[in-house]
């Protein structure tokens, strides 16, 4: 048997395989360099940037472990668009695979400005983060509303010819509705889920364990909730869906794929295993081969109810 075909297209971005690294996990790519062959993966999504640098949430704990998961409340600390393009992007592009920039803003125009500035760069696609639970303004404020999400997607669409991916929050009543709104507004793909909003309290001090009070829950804990949201969205949209929500091994990734994801992103697992993406990719290949599946796309959304 010839090697299974794992290629995936997101608009004009061709990925050799469906495994991506999720935004925010991997910084701007430089810090993990050398710990795995990141160039082998389908795409690397860099930490969300905003027009201006942001210092993020106040000092104190920004992450905390919970049963089978972790909370984070980084608060979109980032170097800002300009420094990103000047100092960070060139090194990331050296990985030799698709680099996706993730952008956020407090106003629609900010998203558009970021997208415009990235249009001339080497990024393969732009992810619009309308789902960060960790900033007061912007972020999730857009993502929880289908209309506002569509506005952002449309503005970014107008600002760039690059493929755009709308990253969705699970903290909504109707995630499929938000996905459809983004698709109609011109998104080439949707990615989900960002983290579930959550809080942990130290009962001795009666203070939240996170300095920011609340944060976002990721980890194996949320996988079934994430898989279901991918299933719901995949039923509703035509564009590719990128699934995430602690994909730790190939079986996790396949759950998302069978539920309807055309590609998957590895997040939290990278903290344990910097080579988690490569491990997942190898496992997906093994599964396709051992099940004589010629093309990955043959099983996307193949779940039988």
């Amino acid at each position: 048997m010839t090697a299974p075909d794992t290629a995936v297209s997101i608009g004009s971005m061709s990925m050799k395989n469906p495994v991506m690294i999720a935004s925010g996990i991997f910084g701007y790519g430089d810090e993990f360099r050398g710990l795995a062959e990141y160039g082998e993966l389908g795409a690397l999504v860099l930490k969300t940037v905003t027009r201006q640098p942001r210092e993020g949430n106040p000092p104190g704990h920004r992450t905390v472990e919970t049963p089978a998961g972790m909370l984070n409340a980084i608060g979109l600390e980032n170097v800002g668009l300009e420094a990103f393009v000047r100092d960070k992007l060139p090194a990331a592009l050296e990985y030799g695979t698709n680099i996706v920039a993730s952008i956020a803003g407090e106003a629609v125009e900010e998203f558009a400005e970021c997208a415009r500035a990235l249009d001339g760069t080497g990024v393969a696609a732009i992810e619009i983060n309308i789902s960060c639970p960790n900033v007061k303004k912007g972020g999730m404020a857009f993502g929880v509303d289908a209309g506002a999400s569509a506005e952002v997607a449309a503005a970014v669409r107008a600002a760039t010819g690059k493929p755009i991916i709308a990253k969705l929050t699970p903290n909504v009543t109707d995630i499929a509705g938000v996905a459809v709104a983004c698709e109609r507004a011109g998104a080439d793909a949707v990615s989900l889920v960002n983290t579930f909003s959550a809080m942990a309290i130290d009962v001795e001090s009666r203070r939240p364990l996170l300095a920011a009070g609340s944060g976002g829950l990721s980890g194996p804990a949320i996988r079934p909730a994430a898989v279901y949201r991918v299933y719901q969205v995949a039923q509703a949209v035509e564009v590719p869906v990128i699934g995430m929500g602690v994909i730790w091994n190939a079986s996790d990734a396949l759950e998302f794929i069978i539920a309807g994801a055309s590609a998957v992103a590895v997040g939290t697992a990278l903290y344990a295993d910097p080579a988690a993406g490569n491990r997942v990719l190898n496992g997906i290949r093994d599964y396709l081969e051992s099940h004589s599946i010629a093309r990955l796309s043959d099983i996307v959304g193949s779940v039988e109810l």
Binding site: E31, A36, E65, A68, D252, Y271, N282
Partner: protein, 299 residues
Amino acid sequence: MSQAQRRAEPGAGGSAGRGPFRLRAEVVESEALPAVHHRVVLRAPEIAACAQPGQFVHIWCHPPAEIDRPPCDALLRRPYSISRLRPPDGVEILLRVRGVGGRLLAAKTVGDALDVIGPLGNGFRTWPDIGVAVVVAGGIGLAPVPALIARLAASGARVVLLAGAETDEKIPFRVERPRAGRATLPEVAALGAEVTFVSESVEGILITEVVALRLDELPEEGSAMFACGPRAMLKRLAEVASGHIPLQVSLEERMACGLGACRSCVVPVRCDNGTAYKTVCRDGPVFDAAEIDWERLTP
């Protein structure tokens, strides 16, 4: 470990392009110490070859062979200071076992393997003409001290260790209290330091106050101070040392990546216009005390 994972691979972090390496290190010693402490020595040649005092390793607490299975606790790696190098290729860490990760590590036995990334972060800076090096440590803050003392002593400095803890049980070394004179830590003294140990519960004094009292004894030129311990201790030391003696402190913060990528572990540093954040894992764990914005640092 999966095929994709490398035995030892230079990464971009750490100081001066040396490491970090990820490797499967064998446990060559594992010993329970008094109270809840534990010593683990790992065979980690690449790390041992370039580690600096004050740097740390980031350890996956589950068996390397189970990396494909998401664990339900100790999901993240755990940072531990490199306590001592054990030539030719050994790296010693000292644990104060408090939570699930510590328990898993303390349960390892000789021959077990651990998935370790290191050396990480920036360690203590030392320089040739330090005359008197004052090392201040509180509690488990003693962990990185042996490597530091060895380095300082080798550079020809006179090394004075002022160590303290709430009780003797809070440190990973044996305390000796001679009939006359002050308490000492023989194992640490053997590395070439003049040791004073005080425990709040026995001597009834905080180590920071000992430091304050003895600061005048130090020559104005060529003295340097190095500290590791609880934040309250470090903050007080920064006050005491300020304007008198250059102080480097080692800080702790919750980590996720350990590599400087995720911005979990930031601490506030002074900068021209207000404050900025630096990461404990990559910019630190050792910082110049003068650099830290102690007011904004959470206790």
